[in-house]
């Protein structure tokens, strides 16, 4: 079985925990290793850790982990800044070139940045630089298509979202970059929503004005990790599920306050009431599903939206009616009630019980 960086990091963390527990057991005189056993154990662990550090640049202690977090933040902001710089750089100088040169520069930038990102992903065990290069590669490709549209006055179309989504997903899988996966999913959600709207004869840019267009897209994205296993890609299944649920529940939340935007041909008040009920039912169903499948991300998303639906409804009912101290007291009591229900659930089912990915 191929070892990934996350597997190696997990093993290194387990070694640290094992050594600490071993020291405690020895101090409590429950277990004692001979010098020979100790030497062999230490040697094996050091050999493993050295090979992981060489291959994956893992964090070998807490200090390294904190520095890694800083490097991730620096890599993220560096990538965003470099992407913005690239965008403005092209705008600054593109007028100095003829059409053929413009196309050649755009194409070369896309191809070159793609090759660079994938070359770096082979060599950069930590992934910081390859992920940064991958985001730059996606920026180059987006710029490529946007600028071709401007140079040749091409009518704006939702079709551009599809290659952007495909390219972002490709880079995400090649470089294990969750940020690019999120970008790809967002493009995919927008593309499917725009297509669904267009099939009904609507102008594609209006897809946001009928939020129900997002329902098929959300269901499709949610189904991806169920149909295609994401075990080799740490955190990818969670990103798929969370973005799908955000698309689904945000749509319901919007429609529960903006019935006019619905495709349904009923009075706005009836539509809003219906979507409020659906919001509660969906949130509760998702908490149940998350508990059953061991998906903590689904439970948390469902729970967050249950609270949002509940609080927005309480605000509608009571904000003008009750004194403010009573209103906030009720919110606080409801929060305590939710805590009690969750504690009961946890003690009965052993919430998650370590399953799920």
């Amino acid at each position: 079985m191929t070892l990934s960086r996350s597997d190696a990091q997990q093993r290194a963390d387990d070694i640290g925990v094992f050594n600490r527990e071993l020291a405690r057991l020895e101090a409590e005189q429950v277990l004692s290793l001979s010098d020979d056993q100790r030497a062999r154990l230490h040697g094996h662990q050091q050999q493993l850790l050295a090979s992981y550090r060489t291959a994956f640049d893992i964090d070998h202690d807490n200090q390294a982990r904190q520095l890694s977090l800083g490097m991730r933040v620096a890599s993220f902001f560096g990538a965003l800044a470099l992407a913005a710089s690239l965008f403005f750089l092209f705008y600054q100088f593109w007028g100095l070139f003829g059409e053929v040169s413009q196309v050649a520069i755009l194409l070369a930038a896309s191809l070159g940045s793609c090759a660079l990102a994938l070359w770096l992903s082979r060599r950069d065990g930590s992934g910081y630089f390859s992920k940064l290069a991958a985001l730059l590669a996606l920026t180059c490709f987006v710029l490529n298509i946007v600028m071709l549209g401007q140079i040749f006055n091409i009518t704006p179309s939702d079709k551009a979202l599809l290659p952007w989504a495909a390219y972002a997903l490709l880079l995400a899988y090649a470089c294990h970059a969750r940020l690019l996966l999120a970008a790809g999913i967002l493009c995919l959600l927008a593309f499917i929503a725009a297509r669904v709207g267009s099939w009904g004869g609507l102008y594609w840019l209006d897809f946001g004005e009928r939020p129900e267009n997002f329902f098929p897209a959300a269901l499709l994205v949610f189904a991806v990790p169920l149909l295609i296993a994401q075990r080799r890609y740490e955190g990818f299944a969670v990103i798929y599920r969370v973005f799908a649920l955000l698309a689904l529940l945000l749509t319901v939340l919007v429609l529960s306050h903006w019935g006019e935007a619905s495709y349904l041909n009923y009075s706005p008040a009836l539509i809003e009431g219906g979507y409020q009920l659906l919001g509660f039912a969906l949130s509760a169903a998702l908490i149940w599903l998350g508990v059953r499948r061991g998906w903590s991300d689904v439970v948390n998303t469902g729970l967050s939206f249950l609270v949002i639906f509940l609080y927005t409804k309480l605000f509608d009912w009571w904000w003008a009616l009750l004194p403010k101290y009573l209103f906030f007291l009720l919110l606080g009591l409801i929060a305590v009630l939710i805590l009690l229900v969750l504690r009961r659930l946890r003690s009965r089912h052993g919430l998650f019980a370590g399953v799920g990915q």
Binding site: L118, L148, I154
Partner: protein, 295 residues
């Protein structure tokens, strides 16, 4: 793992090449001769934003400016597109004159449509004639009461409006809409005067108060004082910034500014030029030629 990276590389490079090829082939197909239409436009129809944001963007773009026909009385809100035309374009008629039906009509979503633009034709001449009639009427009223400042202001405004329509603002008018390009082209065969462009149309419903023109207090019940204006409004897609290729940048920058502005006495800062603008098979435009306008 390294083998997988090789597949990713091939797939990534292939995707980039494929998408660029599709886009460029589409451009080539759009620009195949003969062009769908070809108009000779001036700075009246193509607005330049040259200078604005030039520091950050070295490209030059021109915005195609067109106008919708005015109503005879030009008072209050009125829809650019009639209700009959909206029904032709696939919008659903309101079930009745009640508020609920009209609300349902107006919340129908935008739809794509084709717009027919006429250059310096009967629609533009009608606009000039309307402005001329309003100016004549304003002058007549002012002569009846020469000391009235409000009437003098109205006459000055009417003169400015007439001058603007004759000298400055766009002569490109939207004269028709439809869904089928061939039908529209058969109706408007002159490709030097009529361009068909892509656009989108949105329903329009507005409740307008009808002024009481009788003697004394208004005796009408409430429902007769208000009238619904039904129709639609539309706009073109992708004509907000037409790219000026780099080979004309030097000429464009050196073009003289000037000409008479709409307010009768002010000097214009617009560059004076003539542009040949072609629309291709996909109705996407491109600039074929740019010259200095000498008259």
């Amino acid at each position: 793992m390294k083998g997988t990276q090789g597949y990713f590389l091939v797939a990534g490079l292939g995707l980039i090449a494929l998408v660029n090829a599709i886009v460029l082939l589409g451009v080539a197909w759009n620009r195949q001769e003969p062009a769908e239409s070809r108009l000779q436009l001036s700075e009246r129809e193509l607005l330049s934003h040259y200078g604005y944001a030039r520091k950050e963007n070295s490209g030059i773009g021109l915005r195609l400016d067109y106008r919708w026909p005015s109503a005879e009385d030009d008072e209050g809100f009125y829809p650019s597109i009639s209700l009959e035309k909206m029904l032709e374009l696939g919008f659903q008629q309101p079930a009745g004159p009640d508020d609920d039906s009209l609300r349902r009509y107006s919340r129908q979503q935008q739809r794509e449509a084709l717009l027919v633009l006429e250059l310096d034709g009967p629609a533009y001449q009608r606009e000039v004639q309307l402005a001329r009639d309003r100016y004549a009427e304003a002058q007549r009223l002012q002569r009846l009461d020469p000391g009235n400042q409000a009437l003098a202001d109205e006459a000055r405004q009417a003169a400015s409006s007439l001058d603007s329509r004759q000298q400055r603002i766009s002569r490109l008018m939207v004269v028709d809409l439809g869904l089928d390009r061939q039908t529209l082209r058969a109706r408007y065969p002159d490709r030097q005067r009529y361009a068909i462009v892509r656009g989108h149309v949105r329903p329009f419903a507005h409740r307008q108060w009808l002024p009481w023109r009788g003697e004394g207090d208004d005796p009408r019940p409430d429902e007769q004082r208000w009238q619904w204006q039904l129709g639609g409004s539309g706009e073109s897609a992708g004509l907000g910034r037409i790219h000026l290729p780099q080979r004309w940048h030097k000429l464009f920058v050196s073009l003289p500014r000037g000409g008479v502005k709409g307010d009768l006495h002010g000097k214009s800062y617009d560059k004076q030029f003539i542009v040949a603008l072609a629309f291709g098979r996909r109705l996407e435009p491109w600039i074929v030629d740019l010259q200095e306008r000498t008259r």
